[in-house]
Subunit: 365 residues, 2 copies
C-alpha cells in the first residue's frame, strides 16, 4: 500500500502542530503547567450539569448557544448579536483567521493575508496562521515585554497597520504582563484591520478592555470559561464585537459547535460569579506571595496580572529546573522560544501547592 502523502495539501504537510501542555495523570502530581484554576467550579454549577445529564443528551444542543448569548449580552451590556460562543476561545481564534484573513496566494494583497501578533504571546497564533496559509508577521515586544506604542511601531518600520488580523493577548502569556486599556485603545485606533484582544486571563487582572469591542467596529474581545471559571474540560469561550463581524464568524462556524453540557455549565456559572471572584482574590494573593518568596530565593519574577508567573530561575538553565521540579512531582511549563527560554511559566495553584513548590525550590537551590 503506497503512502497517500500526495493527497495532502502541501501547506498541511509542512505544518508544525501546536503543542499543548502535558495532561499526565500521575498520582500526587502538582500540576502548574496549563494555567488551570486550582479551585473547582461552584457546587451549584456542578449540580446544574449533573441535573442536565439525562435522556436529553440524545437531542442536539441549541445550535447558536442562544440562552448563553442572551445572558452574556446582559453581562456585557450589549445585544446577543454582539456575541458568538465557541468550542473554547481557541475555536473562535481559528474562526477569526478564516473569516478575516485571505490565504496568501498569487495576487492577494499582502496586508489582506497578514496575521500579525507580538512576540512572545500565545504560541497558538503562528500555528493558526500556518494552518490557514496566512502570512505571519511577528513583532517583538519592548523592554520588559511592554506593548510598543503606535509611534514606536512606525519608527521600527515592520508593523503592518493594515494587517487583516492582529491578535493581542492581554494580560499577555507567557509573560503575565497586562496592557492597559489606554495603550490597547491607542493600538486599536491605529489599526485598519481587525484586532482581537484575547482576554483569556483578564479576570485575574486589574482592568479589562471589553469596552473597546463596542467603541471600535473592528475590535473583537475574546473570553473563555476555561481558566477563570474552571471549565477547561467543557470547552466554552466567546467573543464580543460589532454585529457585522460576529455575523461573519457565525457563518463560518460548525452548526453545532458548542456541546450542550458546556452551555449548561457556562449559564450556571454566570449565576454564581461571586463564588469565582472569591477564588480570583485567593489566586492573586497566592501569586503576590509566590512572587515575593521566589524573588527572595534568587528568581527574577516578572510582575503578573494573570494566574501564572514567568520566572527566571537562578543557578542553572530553566530546562534543568523543569526536570528537577518534575522529579519532585511538580509540573511547570518551559518554552524553547528565544526570548523566554531562560524562564519557567508557573501556574498559580492553591496555597498548599505554592508551599510545596517553595519547598522543592529550596531543595534545588
Amino acid at each position: 500500500m503506497k503512502s497517500p502523502t500526495s493527497l495532502i495539501r502541501p501547506l498541511v504537510r509542512k505544518l508544525h502542530p501546536y503543542v499543548p501542555g502535558e495532561q499526565p495523570r500521575i498520582r500526587g502530581l502538582i500540576k502548574l503547567n496549563t494555567n488551570e484554576n486550582p479551585y473547582p467550579p461552584a457546587p451549584a454549577v456542578l449540580r446544574a450539569v449533573q441535573g442536565a445529564v439525562d435522556g436529553r443528551l440524545r437531542l442536539y444542543p441549541n445550535p447558536t448557544s442562544q440562552a448563553l448569548r442572551e445572558r452574556l449580552a446582559r453581562l456585557h451590556g450589549c445585544l446577543p448579536e454582539n456575541v458568538i460562543v465557541g468550542n473554547g476561545s481557541d475555536e473562535l481564534l481559528a474562526l477569526a483567521v478564516r473569516t478575516f484573513v485571505e490565504p496568501a496566494s498569487l495576487g492577494a494583497n499582502r496586508s489582506r493575508s497578514a496575521l500579525q501578533y507580538f512576540d512572545p504571546s500565545y504560541s497558538l497564533y503562528p500555528v493558526l496562521a500556518d494552518t490557514h496559509g496566512a502570512r505571519t508577521l511577528s513583532e517583538p515586544l519592548g523592554e520588559s515585554f511592554a506593548l510598543p506604542t503606535p509611534a514606536e511601531l512606525r519608527r521600527r518600520g515592520r508593523w503592518d497597520f493594515r494587517a487583516a488580523l492582529t491578535l493581542v493577548t492581554t494580560p499577555n502569556a507567557p509573560t503575565g504582563r497586562a496592557f492597559s486599556r489606554r495603550e490597547l485603545a491607542a493600538l486599536c485606533k491605529a489599526q485598519k484591520g481587525v484586532v482581537v484582544l484575547d482576554e483569556a486571563y483578564v479576570d485575574f487582572a486589574r482592568e479589562n478592555a471589553a469596552s473597546l469591542a463596542f467603541r471600535f467596529p473592528h475590535v473583537l474581545v475574546a473570553r473563555t470559561f476555561s481558566k477563570a471559571y474552571s471549565l477547561c474540560f467543557q470547552r466554552v469561550g466567546y467573543m464580543l464585537g460589532h454585529r457585522v463581524l460576529i455575523d461573519a464568524m457565525d457563518r463560518m462556524r460548525d452548526s453545532y459547535n458548542v456541546n450542550g453540557l458546556g452551555q449548561v455549565a457556562a449559564l450556571a456559572t454566570l449565576d454564581h460569579l461571586s463564588y469565582y471572584r472569591r477564588g480570583f482574590g485567593k489566586i492573586r494573593a497566592t501569586r503576590d506571595r509566590l512572587t515575593r518568596e521566589l524573588t527572595a530565593l534568587g528568581f527574577e519574577v516578572l510582575p503578573s496580572q494573570a494566574n501564572f508567573i514567568l520566572a527566571r530561575p537562578p543557578g542553572m538553565p530553566a530546562e534543568r529546573w523543569l526536570e528537577e521540579l518534575r522529579a519532585r512531582r511538580i509540573l511547570v511549563r518551559w518554552f524553547r522560544y528565544p526570548r523566554v527560554k531562560a524562564y519557567l511559566r508557573i501556574t498559580i495553584g492553591t496555597n498548599p501547592q505554592a508551599n510545596a513548590l517553595l519547598r522543592a525550590v529550596r531543595e534545588i537551590v
Copy 2:
C-alpha cells in the same frame, strides 16, 4: 460608526450558512425532524457522565481523545493512529475539506480544489465547500436515488475521478437509501483523490463499509455517536483511515477539540453496545411498520436503511403537509431542493410517536 463589512473576506460575505433543523422547546411536541434517536443513552452511560461531573471540570480534557481512540481502534481492529475524534463528525468533515482541498485560487489545478458529492445528499457539503473556497461538483444520483457506477459516471462525462475530495453519505440522507459495500468499493477504486464515506446512519443499515477505510489508503470512514448512540448533545464523532491521512487532519484540528464529558460518554457507550443494538432493532421495526402503514395511506415511501424515511405525501404539496403536521405538534423536515421537495423526511421515533403520526396523517388525508 461605519459598518466593518470591508474587513470580511469576500468569500465569507457571499456565504449562505447551513440551516440546521429546528430545536424548538414546545410542550408535547413530537420531534421527528433532526434524526435523533428516540431512546435515551444507556443508564450506565448517564451514570458515568454524572460521576465525572466534579472538580475535574477545571482541567483540560485529553487533547487527543487518547483513551477513546484506543477503544475505537479495538472495536474496528485497527491502531489508534487510524482514528481521529472530532467535535461531532461535522467538525471532521470540515477538517477533511481544509486538509485535502486547495482553495480555488489563481493557478490551482482544478481537481485539487474540487469537492465532489452526489445530489441529493447531506446538505452540509456545499456549505463546507463555499466556506473553504473550494469548487463544488455535484452529480445527480440515478433513478430511485441509486449510486451511479463508475462506468455510468464516465459516460455522463462530468464526474471528476481526480477530485481532491469526494463525500458520500451512506446510508444516504435525506433518501435513506444505503449503498452496498460492493458498489462503494467500485467507486473508491475508481477515485484518485480522497473519498469520505459518511456513515452517520450506518447502525440502522444491513451492512457497513468500515473495512474500505483499511483496504484503500485514500478512503476515510466517518462515524458519529450523535444519532445511533443518543449523544447529539455532547458532540462526538470520529473518522477511520490511513494513518497518513489521519495524521494530516490531526495537525489541522484545534488542540482541545473534543470536550471531556463527551469523551467520557462515548467511552462508556462502547461498554454497552448491546443496549443500543436493542434500540436499533426497535427503530428498524418501527421504520418498517411506518413504511407499510404510510404506503397504505397513499404515501410513496422510499425503502430506508436509516432512522428516517423519505416519503412523498398524497393530495397536496409536502410543504403544506409540513404545516398541517406542525399544527398537530408533529415536527418533520422538508427540504426546498428540486429533487426532494415533493417529500417529507420523517425521523423514526418510538412506537407511540409513530402511532401519533399515523393518527395525524389520517386526520389530514
